[in-house]
Amino acid sequence: MTRPSAPVPKTATEPQSSASASASASASASASASATPLLEVRDIRKTYHLPRGQTLKAVDGVSLSVMPGEVLGLVGESGSGKSTLGRCLLRLTDVSSGQIVFEGQDITHLGERAMRPLRQRMQMVFQDSYASLNPRRRIGDLLAEPLRVHPGPDGRKRSHAAITARLHELMELVSLPLSALERYAHEFSGGQRQRINIARALALSPRLIVADEPVSALDVSVQAQIVNLFTDLQTRLGLTYVFVAHDLAVVRQISTRVAVMYLGVVVELGETDAVLHHPAHPYTAALTAAVPRPEVGAPRAAPLGGDIPSPIARPAGCRFHTRCPAAQERCKVEDPALRPVSQGHFVACHFPLTDD
């Protein structure tokens, strides 16, 4: 099993030849060959052991790189492993195997204490804006917590005044009134609470933010505001996002690159435009076709039949063959590896779609 150790531009290389598909974004066209990824994961797996000897492979061999300043969108249905992957990236869930490298440092096996200083530079925004805020603490107290725990830029404990000043900055960043600091989570709307969550994630000025479906629980009109806030903050603060979502419209708006996940693996990876407008994987094609179009009389694509199979008993061969309109005999036997179809665009399919 070999994989390129350095980014290989232009020429197509097999990033992985293992049985399970995996993706390497190191050949991404957006990143220059010399740039080092902010976060890189190599063949990570997360297996849950269930009663009666069953295993659930939530993440089944994923390799990705996240370049500084980019927004990587992770899309997929429920059960595709995208949220688990997001948690693994930040070491909130321990991986079963594989490697996680953050800022060039292998963090796969770091303990809680060793991770603590790194936490300042990697943060998460959760899906459930209510559940992720302690209902019994005031917002100001919640936002101050990371500032109390971590030393200030001078390496010393932050003073009370410094914390207050930072809280005011954060409120301004996410456009909330200062009076919000005195209140409890239940007094806010979903969108306001998500702003609070974003403010908390920003408190320590991180470089990387993993956003786990941060807008999927919100009203559509509020979704747009929050997505705009994410975009706005990214340009102002030079952030890097891994943005988990199942809504392609949201992903299209915010992402520079997209990774499409299905049953624990990345099936397609590439620039947002390439993946969403010229999908090479039948699954991505079905996803994009299922997005309702605003034109009158726009043709509706035939929806994908059935549900995502259970990750406990995933299909042999290509894991998508049970629902794939183009499945052939080979797909039932052989698991396709992730391979390039064009520069920076990878797909795990024996019969990738072409534009014509």
Binding site: D128, N134, E145, V149
Partner: protein, 333 residues
């Protein structure tokens, strides 16, 4: 939400306001307050109102009732007037509820006994809550081996009936006191029933706390705190504890009621509060032999126990309702 609105009151204040609107709970609180105050003022009552010494035997004494000198020990009302019974309820401030077999003022003894009963049950409840919170939070939050060891220990304690357990422990300690290295606890110390009662109820309080913490550990705000690099002790102290504090507060009065019953039982069996000190349990025991002739000696402290236990239960229910209001009704949909 507008910027001008004043900051809302704290969550505890909201719960207390809600409790204050609950009339039944407030009545229970008033009953408890009156009884507690009465017991606290026991020395004043004995000295200035009853004018008796409730701790010395007075079988040969007499008191003035309506200008008549009356013996405290009265001949029985059988045809031959055989034997003596202590004086019954007099309807006067002195010996209001009559005398016990030692000729001591029952009313004054009930107030003094209440001091011990209430002190022991409240201290036991607080100690039990403290131990149960520590055990429940440790087991629930750290899980794994800590949880296994603590939970099995609780199961073992649980397997022994509470009263049997308390009685066994009491018999050993009451006969000899307790010597643990430099710590010496005298056999008649109130610490003995306090610690024993607190210990035997720990499993009952720890289990719901552990369950709550197990759920909280999975809560997303705990994950969020971990993600922020908050050390575990801070998560326990500032994220877990405030969320189990409602459980603790609701358990408090209920545990005190249970402790009061346990204390009375132990004292009734002479292995709780030791003579000459009184508790409601010991007074009931005094009254046991007089149950046919002077039932008031046993009934009055019994009534006091019933009243306090009922009031504590009602207060506990009221607290639960008051604290639940915020947890459920105000949780946004």
């Amino acid at each position: 939400m507008t910027a001008e609105a004043p900051p809302p009151p704290g969550l505890w204040r909201q719960a207390m306001r809600s409790l204050a609107r609950n009339r039944t709970a407030m009545a229970a609180l008033a009953v408890l307050a009156v009884i507690t105050l009465g017991c606290a003022l026991a020395p004043l009552y004995a000295r200035d109102i009853a004018r008796t010494d409730p701790f010395t035997s007075n079988v040969a004494g007499s008191i003035m009732l309506d200008g008549q000198e009356t013996d405290i020990m009265q001949p029985n009302e059988n045809p031959l007037h055989l034997g003596l019974s202590p004086i019954g309820p007099t309807g006067h401030t002195t010996y209001l509820l009559g005398a016990d077999s030692q000729g001591r003022d029952v009313a004054a003894r009930i107030l003094y006994g209440g001091r011990n009963s209430l002190l022991i049950s409240s201290c036991a409840a607080v100690l039990c809550l403290f131990l149960a919170a520590a055990a429940g939070i440790a087991a629930g939050f750290f899980g794994g081996l800590v949880d296994t060891v603590l939970s099995r220990l609780m199961d073992i304690m649980w397997a022994v009936p509470v009263y049997l357990f308390a009685i066994s422990l009491s018999i050993v300690t009451v006969s000899q006191g307790l010597r643990l290295g430099p710590f010496v606890v005298e056999a008649d110390s109130l610490l003995i029933p306090i610690v024993i009662i607190a210990l035997v109820y720990v499993p009952y309080a720890a289990r719901p706390i552990r369950g709550r913490v197990l759920a909280l550990r999975q809560a997303e705000f705990v994950t969020a705190a971990r993600c922020l690099g908050v050390p575990r002790w801070r998560i326990v102290l500032f994220d877990i504890l405030p969320n189990v504090s409602t459980t603790l507060v609701v358990l408090g009065p209920l545990l005190m009621a249970l402790s009061l019953l346990a204390e009375s039982a132990l004292s009734f069996l002479s292995i709780g509060v030791q003579a000459p000190a009184a508790s409601w349990g010991t007074i009931i025991q005094d009254g046991e032999g007089l149950i046919y002739t002077r039932p008031m000696v046993a009934i009055a402290p019994g009534l006091a126990i019933v009243l306090v236990v009922l009031a504590l239960n009602i207060l506990g229910d009221g607290l639960r309702d008051a604290l639940d209001v915020r947890d459920t009704a105000r949780r946004p949909s």
